[in-house]
C-alpha cells in the first residue's frame, strides 16, 4: 500500500462527524480534567477509557488521545493560577507562570502556555508520523530475543526515572511484574496464584488495576486530608499574550519541542524531565536569563513546549514497538487491547488505516487544542469552583461503573478497590505507581518472549545475544543501569557532603 493509499484509507476511517466529535470532546475533557486541581491527565484518561468500549476502535482511541493532549495543557492552568500543577509535567511551568500571575499577567502566561503547547504538539505529531513508520518497518525484523532485550531495556529506564529513588522505582516495577504472573501459565496452562478462583485464571484485569492504582488513591488521600486542595485562584489580569511575545520565544519553543520529541520517544522518561530540561536550556541561552524564575514569559513557553513535545513522541514506541512510553500511553495501550488491537510493528501492516487515521486525528487535535484551550483559560474559574468533595464521590461511582463494564464482572470492582489500597500505600511510602503499571503490562510480554526464545533455541542462552539488535539493547541497558547507579551514588554523596558542611 502506497503512502497516498494509506492516507486515504486513514481519511476514510476518520472522515466522519463521530470521530471529530470524539476528538473534540476528548480535548475538552482532558483540559477540564487536567485543570481541576487534584485530578490529572492520567486520571482523566483512565476514567474516560470505559466510555470508549461502545465506540468504534478509532473513535474510542481518538477520544483518549484527545484527553491526553488536552490534559497535558490543562495541567498548566492551575499551575499558573493557583501554583498547583494539574499534572507533574506542569511543575516547571510554575517557576515563571505563577510569578507572572502574581504580577497580574496570568492571562499572558496562559496564552503563551497555550500557543507553545499547540506548536510543540504539532511538532511532536509530525515527528510521530515521520519516525513511527520507519521504526515499525525496522522492528518487523524483531524476533522474541530482540523483543525480550527491548522490553528489558524499557523496564530499566522506567525503574530508573520514575521517582526520586531508584530502589523504590525498582521495587514498584518488580511488584508489577509479580502481579502480572497471576493467572494461567503461558506455556503449560497451569495455575499461578489463582487460589482456585476462576476469576483469576485470566490474570487480573488491566483496567481494574490501572483505575485502582490511579483514581482510588486520590479518593483515599481526600479522606485522609479533606482540606488539602483548598487554594487561592489568581485573576487573569488585563494583559494578554501578543504575537511579538510568541516570535521572541519561538526559538525556545522549537528547542523545547525537539527536547520533548527526543525524550518522549525513549520509553519511561516522561514529560516532567523534558519540561525542566527545556526550561534550563531556554534560561541558559536566553538574553533575559536574569528574569527566569521571576516571571519570564519565555520560561513559560519553554517548559510548556518541553512537556507538550512529549505527547506525540511517546506514541512512537507505543505504535511502532508496542512498548508504552509513559503511564498514559500504558492506559491507551489498554484501549487498543480492549478493541482487539495489538500495537506494534504488525499493526503497520495489518491496520494501516487505523494508524493513518490516528495520525490525521492527532494533527487535527492540535487545532482543537488551540480553540478549546482558549475557552478553557477564560472558563477556569468555573472549573476551579467545582467542589472537590462532590467530585471525589462522583469519581468513585464512575470507577465502579467503568470497571464493571469491562467484563461485566463484580470481581473486577473488588480488584479495583484492593489495588486502590495498594496504590494508597505506595503513595504514602513514596513508591511511584507508574513503574508498577508499566511493568504489569510489559511483564507477560517479557516472560513470553524469554520463554519463546528459549524454546526456539533449545534452551541455549546465546540466542539472547544472537545479533546486532540484541547486542544494541544489551549495551544500552547496561549503560542505563550504570548511569542510574552512578547518578544515585552521586546524589547520595552530595547529600552527605551538604550535611557535613551544615
Amino acid at each position: 500500500m502506497s503512502f497516498i493509499d494509506s492516507l486515504l484509507a486513514g481519511l476514510a476511517l476518520v472522515g466522519n462527524i463521530e470521530a471529530f466529535l470524539a476528538l473534540g470532546a476528548g480535548v475538552a475533557i482532558g483540559v477540564i480534567g487536567g485543570a481541576i486541581p487534584g485530578m490529572s491527565a492520567t486520571m482523566a484518561v483512565a476514567l474516560t477509557l470505559p466510555f470508549t468500549f461502545a465506540m468504534q476502535p478509532i473513535t474510542g482511541i481518538l477520544l483518549l488521545l484527545g484527553v491526553y493532549k488536552g490534559g497535558i495543557f490543562g495541567g498548566s492552568i492551575p499551575a499558573i493560577l493557583i501554583k498547583t500543577p494539574g499534572t507533574p509535567a506542569s511543575s516547571a511551568t510554575i517557576l515563571d507562570g505563577y510569578p507572572m500571575a502574581e504580577r497580574g499577567e496570568a492571562g499572558r502566561a496562559l496564552g503563551m502556555a497555550l500557543w507553545a503547547s499547540c506548536t510543540a504538539d504539532l511538532i511532536s505529531n509530525l515527528a510521530l508520523i515521520v519516525f513511527a513508520g520507519w521504526l515499525a518497518s525496522f522492528a518487523l525484523n524483531f524476533g522474541p530475543p530482540e523483543f525480550f532485550t527491548l522490553i528489558l531495556f524499557s523496564l530499566t529506564i522506567i525503574a530508573g526515572v520514575s521517582g526520586d529513588s531508584l530502589l523504590r522505582g525498582a521495587l514498584s516495577a518488580v511488584l508489577g511484574l509479580l502481579l502480572a504472573t497471576i493467572g494461567l501459565d503461558l506455556v503449560y496452562g497451569t495455575n499461578r496464584f489463582t487460589f482456585g478462583s476462576p476469576d483469576m485464571m485470566g490474570g487480573l484485569n488491566f483496567i481494574a488495576v490501572l483505575i485502582g492504582l490511579f483514581a482510588i488513591p486520590e479518593i483515599l488521600a481526600m479522606a485522609w486530608n479533606p482540606t488539602a486542595h483548598l487554594g487561592k485562584t489568581r485573576s487573569l489580569g488585563n494583559k494578554w499574550v501578543t504575537f511579538a511575545d510568541y516570535r521572541r520565544c519561538f526559538r525556545s519553543i522549537v528547542r523545547g519541542s525537539m527536547i520533548g520529541v527526543f525524550l518522549g520517544s525513549i520509553p519511561g522518561i516522561g514529560a516532567a524531565p523534558s519540561a525542566f530540561l527545556s526550561y534550563s536550556e531556554a534560561r541558559r541561552k536566553s538574553k533575559n536569563k536574569a528574569n527566569f524564575g521571576k516571571g519570564e514569559v519565555e520560561g513559560v513557553a519553554a517548559s510548556e513546549a518541553g512537556n507538550n513535545g512529549v505527547a506525540g513522541a511517546t506514541l512512537i514506541p507505543l505504535l511502532a514497538l508496542g512498548v508504552p512510553g509513559d503511564v498514559i500511553t500504558a492506559i491507551i495501550i489498554g484501549a487498543f487491547m480492549v478493541h482487539g488491537l495489538q500495537p506494534g510493528p504488525m499493526m503497520f501492516v495489518l491496520n494501516v488505516d487505523i494508524i493513518y487515521g490516528l495520525f490525521i486525528g492527532l494533527i487535527v487535535s492540535s487545532i482543537f487544542l488551540f480553540f478549546i484551550g482558549t475557552a478553557a483559560i477564560r472558563g477556569f474559574k468555573y472549573v476551579a469552583d467545582i467542589p472537590k468533595r462532590l467530585l471525589i464521590p462522583s469519581v468513585l461511582v464512575l470507577c465502579i461503573y467503568g470497571v464493571f463494564a469491562v467484563n461485566n464482572n463484580i470481581f473486577d470492582v473488588g480488584v479495583m478497590f484492593a489495588m486502590g489500597w495498594v496504590g494508597y500505600f505506595m503513595m504514602r511510602y513514596h513508591i511511584p505507581a507508574a513503574p508498577f503499571l508499566i511493568a504489569f503490562i510489559l511483564g507477560p510480554l517479557l516472560e513470553d518472549n524469554f520463554r519463546q526464545s528459549m524454546l526456539m533455541s533449545g534452551n541455549d542462552w546465546m540466542v539472547l545475544f544472537r545479533g546486532p539488535i540484541t547486542w544494541f539493547f544489551w549495551t544500552v541497558t547496561i549503560i542505563t543501569v550504570v548511569a542510574i547507579i552512578r547518578a544515585g551514588y552521586r546524589a547520595a554523596r552530595n547529600i552527605g557532603a551538604n550535611r557535613l558542611k551544615g
Binding site: 470505559p50 468500549f53 461502545a54 529513588s165 530502589l167 523504590r168 525498582a170 521495587l171 518488580v174 511484574l177 509479580l178 504472573t181 501459565d185 506455556v187 503449560y188 497451569t190 495455575n191 499461578r192 496464584f193 487460589f195 479518593i219 483515599l220 481526600m222 479522606a223 485522609w224 486530608n225 479533606p226 482540606t227 488539602a228 467542589p387 468533595r389 462532590l390 471525589i392 464521590p393 462522583s394 468513585l396 461511582v397 464512575l398 465502579i400 461503573y401 464493571f404 463494564a405 463484580i410 470492582v413 473488588g414 478497590f417 486502590g420 489500597w421 504514602r428 511510602y429 513514596h430 513508591i431 516472560e447 520463554r451 528459549m454 524454546l455 534452551n459 547520595a492 552527605g496 550535611r499
Partner: protein, 163 residues
C-alpha cells in the same frame, strides 16, 4: 515517617515478602507439571526470579536506609486531626466492603447512590443537598449510558429494577 524509616520499613517488608514468596507462596500456589525437564521453561522459574529480585531490592533499600542519616523531616504532610483522619480511612474501607456486598443484592444503581452519599459525608462535604442530588442523578445517568448505549448488563439486584 522520615525518609530513612520509610527506606528501612520498605526494605524489611520487601525481604519478608521475598522469603514468603520463595518458601510459602510459590511452592504452595504455583502449579508446575512434573515432566518439565528444564527449569527455565518451568512455570516456577519466573516467579522465583522475581521473588529473588524483590529480596535484592529489599536488601538495597535496607542498606541505603541504614547508611542514610536521620534528618527528622517527615515525608508526608500530617493530617489536621490524625484520629479522625484514620476514622475516615476506615470509613472508606467499610464503604468499599459494603459496596461489594450490596452490588449483587440491591444492584449497581442503588449501591452507587448509597456509596456516593456515604463518601461525600465521609470527606465532610460542605454541600449536603447538592451531594444528595448528585448521588441520585450521577448513578442514573451512568446507568442510562452503560445499559442503554454501551449495552452493558448493569446488575439490577433482587428488589427494585430499572427499565
Amino acid at each position: 515517617m522520615t525518609n530513612r524509616s520509610v527506606q528501612l520499613q520498605l526494605g524489611l517488608g520487601a525481604c519478608i515478602a521475598s522469603l514468603f514468596l520463595i518458601f510459602v507462596a510459590i511452592p504452595g500456589w504455583v502449579a508446575s507439571p512434573t515432566n518439565v525437564r528444564n527449569i527455565i521453561l518451568s512455570p516456577l522459574f519466573w516467579p522465583y526470579v522475581l521473588a529473588g529480585l524483590t529480596g535484592l531490592t529489599g536488601l538495597g533499600l535496607l542498606a541505603v536506609g541504614w547508611f542514610t542519616e536521620e534528618d527528622g523531616v517527615p515525608l508526608n504532610d500530617a493530617a489536621d486531626k490524625p484520629h479522625t483522619a484514620w476514622l475516615r480511612l476506615f470509613g472508606l474501607a467499610a464503604i468499599m466492603v459494603v459496596t461489594m456486598l450490596l452490588l449483587p443484592r440491591i444492584g449497581m444503581v442503588w449501591t452507587s447512590m448509597l456509596a456516593f452519599v456515604a463518601t461525600a459525608f465521609t470527606v465532610r462535604t460542605r454541600h449536603p443537598i447538592a451531594a444528595v442530588i448528585c448521588a441520585i442523578v450521577i448513578p442514573l445517568v451512568l446507568y442510562a449510558f452503560f445499559a442503554h448505549v454501551a449495552g452493558v448488563a448493569i446488575p439490577q439486584g433482587h428488589f427494585v429494577r430499572l427499565p
